[in-house]
């Protein structure tokens, strides 16, 4: 019976039926009550949502959030209504992250994913079996809009690594904010190297702050990494920094599987990600530049990675130059300010010195041994040596079309 259901599910996923029809058939198959479509409130255009009330009554969805103000944790919680966050990848981490922001009353969410919901996703949070077959972004928008209709949703069902979509993606990040402004933060919740590289390239080009997140393929560690172009290491500055697995690759059995996943690890990483997002956007607490999580050891390593002056991404190098200029100006301004402010009869020359918080920053790629305890690079540093002359491709003098037809004719 089980294999019959699995076969039927597989057939249904491929069948050319509307998502709604698929949901109804799937429900009948699995003996689930057929859902009555919930009324989906229409999206608001622009920040026309009602102001957040801090009244403590049972029908105010924001009362416990506004209590953060009364308790002195956040000075201006309502600011969240004016903010836009782009979530790239709406899978095990991204969907939960989007739900957290929705419940927190974020102004606008822009979602990107090209994948569909499958029954194989049900070991993670958020998506429900009856949504299988729907695109992840439309299933997510449906659920999230029901949870909080005050949020503006903008969903995009495409692959950002594809050349056809990249300009659209860049444009949305730079103008998708509520006031046609750049988005306030980009969250990377993707599961592959090419997509991370794409977000990195876009954010370096736009000078857009983003937070990268990741869960290991063995499902027992994860991390988040704040990336401020020019100020902190970008994704191209060094090999990816990951939590040291301490699991011998030889004993890890990979036959017949691509990746494992757990709702726990994904939920924890999503929680770390949105905690950092709220702290950064609403200005409370300290945001670690890198925060890892090892499930095996209950260990949360942190560190700071400075950009690599020889980064492969030319936009990153430009952003670093801008940052140095900004720092120099800031330093000059502070000196001037200090001289003016200095009390004239301060005969001992006492002044307040900045207290550098946390561990000393490490320049990306400076030395592999220099990473914080419990962290490691995903692979060793690359050597950017040029190929020897005799190993290189030889120019045969043929033009592009010649070469194309040559290859085709082989």
């Amino acid at each position: 019976m089980d294999s019959f259901l699995a076969d039927a599910d597989a057939l249904l996923t491929k069948a050319s039926l509307s998502p709604d029809q698929k949901i109804r058939i799937r429900h009948a198959l699995h003996n689930l009550p057929v859902p009555t479509p919930a009324p989906i409130p229409t999206a608001r255009n622009g920040p026309a949502a009602p102001a957040m009330s801090s009244e403590v009554v049972s029908d105010n969805p924001y009362s416990r959030l506004m209590a953060l103000k009364r308790m002195g944790i956040v000075s201006n919680y309502e600011r969240i209504r004016s903010l836009t966050v782009a979530v790239v990848g709406v899978g095990g981490v991204g969907s939960v992250a989007a739900e957290m922001l929705t419940r927190c009353g974020i102004g606008k969410l822009i979602l990107f994913d090209y994948d569909k919901v499958e029954l194989a996703n049900m070991n993670r949070l958020f998506f429900r079996p009856e949504q299988s077959g729907l695109s992840k972004v439309s299933a997510a928008t449906q659920t999230l809009r029901n949870i909080n209709p005050d949020v503006v949703f903008d969903a995009h069902n495409y692959d950002i690594t594809s050349l056809d979509n990249f300009d659209h993606f860049l444009n949305l990040l730079s103008t998708g904010g509520l006031a046609d402004s750049p988005v306030d933060l980009v969250l990377s919740c993707v599961d592959n190297f090419a997509a991370r590289n794409t977000i990195n390239a876009a954010c370096n080009e736009l000078s857009q702050t983003w937070i990268e997140s990741g869960v290991s393929e063995d499902a027992v560690s994860g991390h988040i990494q704040l990336i401020v172009p020019g100020r902190l290491a970008c994704f191209s500055c060094a090999p990816p920094l990951v939590v040291a697995s301490d699991i011998d690759e030889k004993t890890l059995k990979r036959e017949g599987v691509c990746a494992a996943s757990l709702p726990t690890t994904m939920g924890i990483v999503a929680g770390m990600l949105i905690q950092a997002t709220l702290k950064r956007l609403l200005g409370f607490g300290h945001v670690s530049d890198y925060l890892g999580y090892s499930a095996m050891k209950d260990f949360f390593p942190t560190m700071t990675l400075k950009p690599n002056p020889a980064c492969d991404d030319s936009w990153c190098v430009k952003r670093q130059a801008e940052e140095r200029e900004r720092m120099a100006k800031e330093e000059a301004r502070r000196k001037l300010h200090k001289e003016e402010e200095m009390h004239p009869d301060n005969e001992w020359g006492i002044s307040v010195v900045d207290d550098a918080a946390g561990d000393p920053p490490v320049a990306a790629k400076s030395k592999q041994a220099a990473v914080a305890k419990g962290l490691e690079y995903a692979y060793e540093e690359r050597t950017v040596e040029e190929a020897d002359e005799d190993e290189r491709v030889k120019d045969t003098g043929a033009d592009l079309e010649d070469l194309m037809s040559q290859l085709k004719g082989l």
Binding site: D115, T161, N197, C258, Y379, E380, V393
Partner: protein
């Protein structure tokens, strides 16, 4: 990496231009290198009677498609092959797709993207911009077919791909 793959890769020419399709002129130079290396690879395969794929690209060199095949117990199994050049190429390797095999093996991501071994990405990253499409076929699709086809045949799910 097995010895066969190692020796094949060592015979492929290395590329020099770091460019993606977003870099108009530099991309043309890169594309010429890609095509030259691929032609050399296919010729090498034919000489050794080990021809195992055929690819061609669109005018801009951004989309590629063709066929790949694998002999197992004297039977040839043949599949459609396609891939796109990603925006951040060559930093990101192309993701090779065998769309017809989607759903038939767990060593695959959505859309039929093959699941590369953990050794591929580090090796690729270390060799940017020297590795190109030819190297990615040799290093990721070749070993993938060698590992997965016997399993797929054993499970009797690819009978329809016999040639």
């Amino acid at each position: 990496m097995d010895e066969g793959t190692k020796s094949t890769v060592s015979k492929l020419p290395l590329l020099t231009v770091r460019a993606s399709p977003r870099d108009k002129e530099a991309w043309t130079a890169r594309l010429k290198e890609e095509l030259t290396a691929l032609i050399q690879y296919v010729k090498l395969n034919k000489e050794q009677d080990k021809d195992w794929f055929h690819v061609e690209c669109n005018k801009t060199g951004t989309r590629w498609n063709g066929k790949c095949w694998y002999y197992y117990e004297q039977i040839r199994y043949e599949f459609d092959l396609e891939f796109e050049i990603p925006v951040t190429y060559p930093t990101s390797a192309p993701e090779l797709k065998l769309p017809q095999l989607e759903g038939l093996t767990s060593k695959m991501y959505r859309g039929g993207k093959i699941c590369q071994t953990i050794h591929f990405q580090p090796l690729w990253a270390k060799n940017v911009p020297r590795f190109g499409i030819a190297h990615s076929l040799a290093l990721s699709l070749g070993p993938w077919l060698a590992a997965e086809i016997p399993d797929l045949v054993g499970r009797g799910v690819i009978d329809s791909f016999k040639k």
